[in-house]
Amino acid sequence: MAAVPAQEQRLHRFELPAITGVLVREIINYTSYWRSATFSATVEPTIYLMAFGFGFGSIVSSVGGYDYVEFVGTGTVATAVLFASAFPAMFGTFVKYQFQHTYDAILAAPVDTEELVTAEALWVATRAGVYGCVPLLVAIVFGLDAAWSMLLVPFIGFLAGFGWACFGIAVAGRAKSIESFSYIISAVLTPLFLLAGTFFPLNGLPEWAQKLAEANPLHHTVQLVRGAAFGWAGWTDLLRVGYLAAVGFILWRLAIISMQRKLID
């Protein structure tokens, strides 16, 4: 057989077909497990919302000028985003390279690690953006006033979810075993989750804790969702968006480095 001349078309470092290829794989797979994913991503924050909303709501009627149910209903959006992004990214990534060897198959195709990680994070972030709306809808059922600006909530969830997805992927790339995620969950995610102003306002906390909370992306997510529900805080909110984007960018690059080390010998 005569040698065929090599194709002239050059492939670039970052290509849309590679991203869509990985996304198509995720979407087709999603059709086989969407029930369980949707269940865990929505039921858990809803339980938090109802337990705190009704439990605390009976003693504390209002916080910072809002009904407690409204306060928690908007706050748990960030929790839902976290649960729908960091956790699937950590466990999903680990399972896909360690047990299913999926990434070996994908990287044998014309897809590089950078494109693979980006596509996976985009997919998780999209899901997180959608799932993040569930507590808000529940809160609306329980009396939160709907507002047009709430239509931005999925985008806030997407932005925050992208960062958390990259965080999860970066952690998974360095994990020796699936048990090591316990350290991350206990030492990183749980404190961040409690120090976000979801269930109680942060201004009752000691000053050092308030300072720490300012660095917590989850806190800014909570504040942005409250902005969408109760009215924006102007430049402060833009700064929060910028902060989430910057954190997301850094975690995105870290996730790529971490996975390159893991997947390419």
Partner: protein
């Protein structure tokens, strides 16, 4: 150089203290099937990973389909199909869904996708299983799907890493028939295996690897003639008898190898009289393999 689908020169790949590939030269001409033969740990799988830039070599030159690796690897991968040793199908998806995913990953155009999937189903003879979930397939069907998945975009070169490892003889034959068909159609194939019969049946040329380098390369029959001669004699008996036969044959200048229950004395056709007593048989590729890669397992 343009008539070579794969060309490796002096490739070295180290993992810490271990040198998995140690100065490997490998050539795969277009339209041929080359068998990469070697014991476990010889560096076959690492070589396969180097060809898709999932491992990056420390030294040497790698060209795949005229592209230089690792820099132009994405280009090479686009025209290459890979059937890995470890089954990495999406088990909760159907046969057809698995093929569709890879049609996307390998950028088969929107209008050609349906035909590409049908063709792959045809090749793997899985037409009536298209809607079956992968975890409901037999081991042989999964392996056929794995190969079909590697062919969905009509690649110019396919890499098969141990295509029949761990399968029943019946299923193995079925896969051999599939690979032989591809070969007959002119697909360029690089196949790693540690089954000698597989290499002898399917490969136009084989390259025998040991400790990360090529110890012999050529047409299987030529290698047999060159290294093991035309005929061998097998001497059977108890351990003492075998040791004696081995010592006598070596003293008389023959090469020997143990075959578990017997000692094979090689190159008897080139002896000047004095052929030891035993069962005569044609020399084979296994004789060459053991002679060149050593009798001991590390």
């Amino acid at each position: 150089m343009t008539d070579l689908a794969i060309r490796l020169r002096g490739v070295v790949k180290r993992y810490g203290e271990i040198t998995a590939v140690n100065g490997l030269d490998l050539e795969v001409p277009y339209g041929t099937c080359v068998g990469l033969l070697g014991p476990n740990g010889a560096g076959k799988s690492t070589t396969m990973r180097l060809l898709t830039a999932q491992a990056i070599g420390d030294e040497g030159e790698l060209h795949v389909l005229g592209f230089e690796l690792p820099g132009e690897s994405k280009q090479a991968r686009a025209q290459c199909g890979v059937a890995p040793q470890l089954d990495n199908l999406d088990v909760t998806l159907t046969v057809e869904q698995n093929l569709r995913v890879f049609a996307h990953l390998y950028r088969v155009g929107r209008h050609e996708r349906r035909d590409a999937i049908e063709r792959a189903l045809e090749i793997a003879n899985l037409n009536d299983r298209r809607a079956t979930r992968v975890d409901k397939l037999s081991g042989g069907m999964r392996r056929r799907l794995l190969i079909a998945r590697a062919l969905v975009h009509g690649p110019r070169l396919i890499l098969l890493d141990e295509p029949t490892v761990g399968l029943d003889p019946q299923v193995r034959q079925e896969l051999w028939a599939l690979i032989d068909r591809l070969r007959a159609e002119g697909t360029t194939i690089l196949m790693s295996t540690h089954y000698i019969e597989e290499a002898q049946r399917l490969a136009d040329t084989v390259l025998i690897m040991s400790h990360g380098r090529a110890v012999a390369a050529g047409v299987p029959n030529d290698l047999v003639a060159e290294h093991a001669g035309r005929e061998a004699v097998e001497v059977f008996g108890g351990p003492a008898r075998l040791a004696e036969a081995e010592a006598d044959a070596r003293a008389a200048g023959f090469s020997t190898r143990r075959t578990g229950t017997s000692v094979s004395i090689l190159r008897i056709d080139q002896a000047n009289g004095g052929v030891p007593e035993g069962e005569r048989r044609p020399a084979n590729l296994e004789d060459v393999f053991v002679l060149l890669t050593g009798e001991e397992i590390d």
